[in-house]
Amino acid sequence: MGLTDLMSMAKPNLESREKILRKLRGRELINCFQCIKCTSGCTALKLLELKPHEIEKLVNFGFVDELAASDIIWTCVTCLKCVQRCPQKASPYHVIVALRNLAVEREAKVPEAFMKAVSQILETGLAEAYQKVTTRKMEVCDRESLKLPKIPAPKEGFQAVFLKALEER
């Protein structure tokens, strides 16, 4: 069942729509005139069937709750072609980010890797752990053996402030 079929059974929720508009801080979602330029160049269209113009339409109609609960918002590759090419500055990418944030607030299904990155940053300042790598001749190396400098983790006060930042809506 396509996204649009799914919505035929849903009821629009204008309050949720307001929430997204607030998050977009003045980006002109409302001006989308469904020219489909965004979708025709979307990196995630062919393999994951993401259609940014549909996302725009559905948010404008108030089907925000359904979108925030859907997997489709997690298929965007963040290539930014839609933002660049939209003649109406309706920024589909930014709409998708706002929907993702709402999904997190509502504790909907969020791909685990994102939450893992956040806890890793809280712990170490970086979203990834330092890795050992191998050369083409299979010698194992790390920063030290490659004589790369050690850059310290954030000072102690960082964690508390970052936690506070995560509370903001």
């Binding site: 990196t43 298929t75 990155a117 300042g125 970086l126 083409r136 920063r143 790369l148 850059i151 310290p152």
Partner: protein, 293 residues
């Protein structure tokens, strides 16, 4: 020309794409750019953007505050994704008073200060616009004549233009011009603006690998000596994960992939080990033998 810049590496370079870091650290000083590391290693906020936009902006602002501690007005950000995330945060902090007030206050709690005047550079515009093509060309001691290369500039340093990006969104030329400054050839091709897919490694890894594999396959079909990248995410997808990417698209991929700074390092006759060329997982030996011949 000599210039001193602060440098912010982000996560991917510091945690695994060591070849990029090594080659930037080797090559830039030889072109007159002195690098000063920030006090701390920190995430720019990119993966946080999908979770909480405000917290992502806070992390980026904190990066700029760390840069402010160096007293230098220029910050080099060699990762495309970090470059975009920081640029977006700058825009939010500068345009939205409420966001600015909150973030400035949070930074103050740690004794840090946001400085709106720090200019953010990528390797490509720093070399092309600041150092200049002429100086880069003059520094070449080992012209790479005969090498035919394809460039992959990536997505987030060229889009979206309203934000102020490193090069033109639909027809980026700067990276090709830098490649040509070494006397190598840089070809145009249909898939030039196709994305490496790296962001999808977080939610749809198989699709991410198909996107990367599809592009490598297309470039391989051009019969070039290699693909040049300048972002750790693109390096990860096209070089480190090339074999896996090949499996997802059912193709045997063997395309040499290297960083722009590794290529420039070869033209400056810097030892291959110092450029981290032993770390590339793609078959760069083909290309290297052509260079040393």
């Amino acid at each position: 020309m000599r210039v001193k810049v602060a440098v912010f590496w982000g996560c991917c370079i510091l945690a695994s794409q060591y070849a990029y870091e090594m080659s930037v650290r080797e090559v830039l000083p030889k072109l007159g750019v002195e690098l000063v590391d920030l006090r701390e290693a920190l995430c720019c906020g990119d993966p946080v953007r999908s979770v909480n936009d405000f917290a992502a902006n806070y992390l980026s602002a904190r990066v700029l505050a760390l840069a402010n501690l160096t007293g230098l007005p220029n910050l080099l950000v060699p990762c495309n994704r970090c470059h975009f995330t920081i640029s977006e945060a700058k825009r939010a902090v500068e345009r939205d008073e409420k966001v600015r007030e909150k973030i400035v206050g949070m930074l103050k709690e740690e004794g840090l200060e946001y400085n709106p005047n720090i200019k953010v550079w990528h390797v490509i515009d720093l070399l092309h616009d600041c150092v200049g093509l002429k100086s880069v060309g003059k520094a070449v001691v080992k012209p790479l004549k005969g090498l035919k290369l394809a460039s992959h500039v990536g997505c987030q340093i060229i889009r979206y233009s309203d934000l102020g990006r490193v090069d033109d969104a639909e027809n980026p030329r700067k990276m090709d011009e830098l490649i040509r400054a070494t006397d190598a050839e840089s070809v145009d091709y249909n898939e030039k603006l196709d994305c490496c897919g790296s962001h999808l490694m977080l939610s749809h890894p198989d699709t991410a690998l198909s996107l990367a594999g599809g592009k490598v396959k297309a470039v391989q079909g051009l019969c070039v000596d290699g693909l040049v990248v300048s972002c750790p995410d693109c390096g990860l997808m096209f070089d480190s994960k090339q074999k896996e990417a090949g499996t997802t698209v059912g193709a045997k991929l063997n395309l040499p992939v290297l960083y722009l700074t590794q290529l420039l390092g070869l033209a400056l006759n810097i030892e291959q080990e110092k450029l981290g060329l032993q770390l590339n997982q793609s078959p760069v030996d083909q290309l290297l033998s052509k260079v040393s011949a």
